[in-house]
Amino acid sequence: MAIAFRNIEKHYAVYARPQDRLREWVTGRQRHSVHVALDGINFEVRPGETFGLIGENGAGKSTLLKIAAGTIRPTRGEVTRQGRVAALLELGAGFHPEESGQDNIRFMAALHGLEGGALEDFAARATEFSELSAETLQRPVKTYSSGMFMRLAFAAATAIEPELLIVDEALSVGDLHFQKKSLNRILELRERGATVLFCSHNLYQVRSLCQRAAWIHGGRVQAIGATEDVVTAYEAHERRRYAHLRTDTPAGEVATPQAAAAASAYASVPVKIMRVGIETADGINPAQVDSFQDLTLEIEVESYGEAPFHVGFAIVRPDKDNVFGSSTQFLPSRPPMQGVGVHCLRVRFPRLPLLSGEYLWSVYTLDDSGLQVLDMAELVQPFTVLNQKHREFGLVWLEHEWLQLQ
C-alpha cells in the first residue's frame, strides 16, 4: 500500500457570517451548517500503481487530493502514506517573487526539510529539469514569463524524487512543450516505481496513464476498478446527463471539419488538422455508404514544427459511443510522423462491416507519446450507412456461422 484511505469523511463547517464562528467559539453552541464533502471513502492505491480520480466538478476529488497530500485533515477516518510525497496541487504557490529562481528552488527543498548535500542534489535536479539558464536563475522570479515560471515550479515540485506523486490537473498549464515535458517526467517517475494519484478531466489521459481509477460522485466512490470500466461507466453517466442536449442536433448541422478544426485550433497548435474526407469505391456520394462497400478515410494535417506526432481517428455514433478507433501510434514497427508541411494519410476499410445507421468521424493529432492531444476535430463528416442487401441488424457485422446440432 502506498496510500490508503480508511472510512474518510470530510465535513466543512459553513458559517454564514464570520461573527457566527466567534459566537460559536465563545458560547460553545453550534452556529454553522455542515457541508459533507466526502463520505465513506475507503480504498487504497498500491505501490507503483498509477491511479486516476474522475468525477464532476464539486464531486469531492480536490478535497480527497488535499487529504491525500495532507493539507487538510479528514473529519473522520484516517489516511496512511508511505514514502516521500510530492503534491502538485498548485504549481509555484510558495514562490517569492522577489527571490531568484535558484533561491526559490532552495526554498522548496527546505519545505521538504532538506539541507546540506540533499539540498544540493535537489537543486541540481530541479535546475536541470527547468531548462532555465544559470543567468535566468539568478534573476528574481517576478521577471519571469509565465511559461518560465511554470517550468521552474514544476521542476521544483518534482525534484524531491517522490515515491508518491499527487497530481491535480497541474498538467493543463503552460505551453505544449512544457505539458509534454511534465507528462514525461511523471511517466519517468512512474517507471522508477513511484505511485501516482492523478485527478483529471481529460479522460483520454486517464485512460492512457492509469491502471485503476475511481469515480467520485457526490462525495462517495461511485465506481472503482480497472480504468476502462470506471471511465466507461462515468462516460455513460455523462451521456445520460447531456442526453437532452443531443437529440436536437441533426447530423447535417454538425460542424464541418474545417470549422471544427479552426474552432479548436489555438495559435500554438503545432500539428493542425486541415481536412477530413471520405471516399467510396464508386465515388458517387460519400455521405451515403452501403454496408460492405470499400471506404477510405482521408486525413490532411499540417505540421508547423519538426516534432514527431501521431494521428488517430474514431468512428463515432451520434451519441458519442466509439464504434472503432485507431492511431498511428498503435502500429508497432512504424515510427511517428515527422516533418514540416502537409501530410496526407489514407485509411482504407475494405468491405466496411458497419450496418445501417448514422456515423461520424473524430480525428486527433497527438504528440509522440500519444498522450497529449495537439488538435482535434470531433464529430465531423457525418455519413449514413445503408444495409440494403442483408437482413442482419445491429451496429456491425460480426463474423459468425450457424452450426447444426443434432
Binding site: 493539507t71 533561491d103 521538504h112 532538506l114 540533499a118
Partner: protein, 274 residues
C-alpha cells in the same frame, strides 16, 4: 522502494524528524525573510539598524530635549536616553513581530491550502525576524550604558531569561493574533490601532516614576510593561514595582500556553475554504 535517499524517508516518519523538518524550514524561511525584506532598496540590511536609531532619535529629541523628561533615581549623564533605549529594546522587536505576524497566515492562505507544512512556521518567522532589531537594541543599550559610566551589575545575568520571556510571550501572542486574524479579518485593523495605544500605556518614553504611585500596580496587567520594567531594573537598576517578575512569569505562561492552545484548536480551519 529502490529509490535513492529512502533513508531520509524513514527519518521523516519519526517525530524527531518532524521537528528537524520544521527547524530546517524555519531557518531557511528566516534567511529568505532577511534577504527579501529590504530587496530593491539601496541601504539593504542597513535599514535594520537605521530604523531603530531613527525612532530613538525622534523620541529623544521630542521627549528628552524639547519636553526635558528626566528619570528620577538614575544619576547618569544621559539617563533619559538609556531609559528610552531600554524601553525601545523591548518595544520595537515586540511591535515588529506582532505587526508582521498578524497577517502572516492570511497572506499565505492559498499556500497553506496547497502545500502541506507546519503552519506555526509563519508566526515563528515573524518573531524570528524581530530578533535582529532586538539584538541591535540590546547591544546599543549595553554599550551605551557602559560608555555613560553605568556599573556592570550582577542583575545583568537576568537578561538572557528576560529575552527568553519576551520571545515566548511574543510568539504566543503572535500565534493567537495571526490565527484570529485569519478567522476574523477585523483583528488586523484592530491591532494596528491597539499597538499605538499600547505604546503609550507602556513606560517607554516616560519613566514609571512620573506616573502617580497608585497606578503602578495597574502596569502589571500589561505584559510588555512588565518586560520593560524588568529590563530597566536589570540593566539600569531602576526600582520596579513589587511582583513585576512574578507578573511577567504569569504573562509568559498565559500568553505562551494560550497562544499555542488557541492555534491548535483552530488549526483545522487553515486548509479549508469553501
Amino acid at each position: 522502494m529502490g529509490l535513492s535517499g529512502s533513508d531520509l524517508t524513514a527519518s521523516q516518519r519519526v517525530p524527531s524528524g518532524r521537528a528537524q523538518h520544521a527547524w530546517v524550514l524555519w531557518r531557511y524561511w528566516m534567511l529568505r525573510e532577511f534577504k527579501t525584506r529590504y530587496a530593491g532598496s539601496v541601504l539593504g540590511l542597513a535599514w535594520a539598524v537605521v530604523q531603530p536609531l531613527a525612532s530613538l532619535a525622534i523620541f529623544y529629541v521630542l521627549f528628552g530635549m524639547v519636553l526635558a523628561v528626566r528619570v528620577p533615581g538614575l544619576d547618569l549623564a544621559n539617563g533619559y536616553l538609556l531609559h528610552l533605549l531600554a524601553g525601545l529594546a523591548v518595544w520595537l522587536p515586540f511591535t515588529d513581530a506582532i505587526g508582521r505576524g498578524v497577517g502572516s497566515l492570511a497572506a499565505y492562505e492559498d499556500f497553506l491550502r496547497k502545500q502541506p507544512m507546519p503552519a506555526e512556521i509563519l508566526p515563528a518567522v515573524a518573531v524570528g525576524g524581530s530578533l535582529l532589531v532586538m539584538a541591535i537594541g540590546y547591544a546599543l543599550l549595553l554599550v551605551l550604558s557602559l560608555a555613560q559610566g553605568a556599573p556592570l551589575r550582577a542583575s545583568w545575568a537576568w537578561l538572557p531569561l528576560l529575552v527568553l520571556a519576551q520571545v515566548v510571550l511574543t510568539f504566543g501572542l503572535t500565534l493567537f493574533l495571526s490565527m484570529a486574524h485569519f478567522l476574523w479579518r477585523d483583528v488586523g485593523s484592530f491591532v494596528t490601532f491597539a499597538l499605538q495605544l499600547w505604546f503609550y500605556l507602556t513606560p517607554v518614553v516616560y519613566p514609571l516614576a512620573q506616573v502617580p504611585e497608585r497606578f503602578h500596580t495597574w502596569y502589571l496587567l500589561n505584559p510588555v510593561a512588565c518586560l520593560v520594567l524588568a529590563v530597566e531594573w536589570a540593566v539600569l537598576g531602576i526600582a520596579m514595582p513589587g511582583g513585576t517578575l512574578w507578573a511577567l512569569l504569569a504573562w509568559v505562561l498565559v500568553l505562551g500556553c494560550g497562544g499555542v492552545w488557541f492555534f491548535r484548536s483552530m488549526k483545522a480551519a487553515l486548509g479549508e475554504a469553501l
